[in-house]
Amino acid sequence: MYLKYYTTRDDGEGGIEFLVIDYEKTTGLSFAPQVDLTGDSLPINELIIDVITTDDFKTGEVIELYDDMDQVWAHWYIKKAIHTADNVVRITARSLIDSLEYKQMEAVMFENSSAASAIDACFDGRTSDYQIDSSLSSAKLTGFAPEQTARERLAWILFALGAYVRDVFTTKAHICPVDETSIYIPTGRSFFRPTTDLNDWVTEIRITSYAFSRASSEDEWEDSDSSYMFPLPWIAEEQTISLLNPNAPEDATENVIELDGIYLVNSGNVSDIISRLAKYWFNRNEVTLDCVNNKQFSPGDKVVAYAADESILTGYIQQATFKFGLQARSTLKLIGVDNVAGARLTVNYTYNNGRIGQAEYFFPVGYTYTITNPYIDRTYQDRRFIYRPENATISGTIVEGANVVEQACDIVLEYYDGTLSVYSVDEIELQTSGNEYTGVIS
């Protein structure tokens, strides 16, 4: 890992001067990005790190976290840089959302207005810092937003749209809807062992929807309750929509979540909002699991993973707390966790009708798998053989019950008595660099 610090100074060649800080020159990195998919809040993500340096860091300037493959993990803004010792600076950097906290937005009535324009207004149109997912480009907003900070305004807009801000692994904050495609975390990437916490049942969600109309006269507006809340000539009619939790037992203590006063909720989006909230709040399990995470899993992603008893579950990543070695490990907090039925897949690898290897998987029923067949390295007495599967990959869909697949292999290499013999050159590359052979030249 390393940090890249962008100054506002010109480097003399038309670019911005930057400073690279090796990970060895840092200690105590705290990096735990999160999202709030319920839209209840709009989290500001934070990175804290101690840097051994005599350099100064200015607030407001960009600092980036990179891995050793030069991929960006965070592109955030320095909030504080405090000398904790003569040659140690503790840097606190925050995501773009922090800058919205200090901007005040005027009240506005949206009448089937462009959501993208409303988002642009929150960010002052600084499109170099954020991007709006193309699926939201034609989204509309209807309803009233009072005078509020840009952060509150954006939170309201995202709540109405069912979107969130993805601000890790990117140089631009990405405003996007939740992708319902599950990313699979195999048992070979998930650490022993996940834990499950049970929250209290949410027995019901109640949400208030607003329908705005123009008063026919100023008197009508003044006589209505709306005059305390909304500008002339707007009058609002309220309707409360309720959804009971079908999972909650009858004797569960009543626990109602009530959401009102969010005036961008209307008859056009209230059912989407309530069913979205039900996904997160009606499943009361929260799962915490550790996995190898080299940027594959990000807060906001939906994942399929394994519980402690190796049953399969699905859930949404609310927070990922990272720890770095050469690779990265993260503790994922999953919400909206539900169980998924699973079934076994057995892949038998054969040579001359004899079995030379077997791989077993336990996948969700209905899961469409694609598995890269491994080269199989076997030593028989003092001979070492490397077998190449005839098919590079296998794919299929998991059905209930047993799923068994046979894959034939050929001998590619034989190593015996100090001599390595090549039997086949299709799709094989031999190399010593990096302690591996990767296959694949033809």
């Binding site: 891995d67 050793d68 493959m69 195999p186 048992t187 070979g188 990437r189 998930s190 650490f191 022993f192 062992r193 996940p194 550790d290 190898v292 080299n294 394994y306 190796e310 720890k323 770095f324 070695g325 050469l326 690779q327 990265a328 490990r329 080269y375 390295d377 490397i386 290499l413 100090g418 001599t419 390595l420 013999s421 090549v422 039997y423 086949s424 050159v425 094989i428 590359e429 031999l430 190399q431 010593t432 660099s433 990096g434 302690n435 591996e436 052979y437 990767t438 030249i441």
Partner: protein, 161 residues
């Protein structure tokens, strides 16, 4: 022969070599019961016992003083397989014995010290760690059927290809 910080010492040594394949603390047991080992690199440790003749206490003392200097590390040139290796290494421990004869003569002897390389002698890249692979094979871009290779002191060499 021993070379430390550019100074050569003509002394017989007994050397024990240990290679530590060091992994980070994110390593751990996975749900499929395999072990995820986040290997950072290979660090060499040498334990060296000097066998100076008793009469050469002058050179013995100067080597002892050099090794016990409170510095971060020294530059060593040490035997490594069929060649030598240059290592920047820190001295971890150093010990020796005092031999006292009846006539009152005193001789320091059996100086034994251990060093650990500061940096890895072999490193893994993040890219190769992500694509976990097998043990090394010959570096041949375009092998042909029937080619054979043999491992020699010069690495893998093609035979009759």
């Amino acid at each position: 022969m021993l070379r430390i910080d550019g100074v050569e010492f003509d002394v017989k040594c007994e050397i024990k070599r240990v290679a530590e394949i060091s992994a980070s603390d994110i390593s751990g047991l996975l749900l499929d019961k395999s072990y995820f080992n986040d290997v950072l690199g290979t660090y060499l440790e040498y334990e060296i016992r000097l066998t100076y003749p008793l009469y050469n206490q002058g050179e013995y003392a100067s080597l002892y003083e050099m090794l016990t200097m409170p510095v971060d590390a020294h530059a060593f040139v040490l035997p490594y397989n069929t060649r030598t290796i240059s290592l920047t290494a820190r001295v971890e421990t150093i010990s020796d014995d005092l031999l006292v004869f009846e006539n009152g003569k005193k001789y320091w002897r059996n100086c034994t010290f251990s060093i650990i390389s500061n940096g890895p002698s072999k490193e893994q890249t993040l890219e190769s760690a992500i694509q976990r692979g097998l043990t090394p094979l010959p570096d041949v871009a375009s092998p042909n059927i029937g080619d054979t290779y043999t491992f020699t002191s010069n690495g893998w060499v093609a035979v009759n290809n």
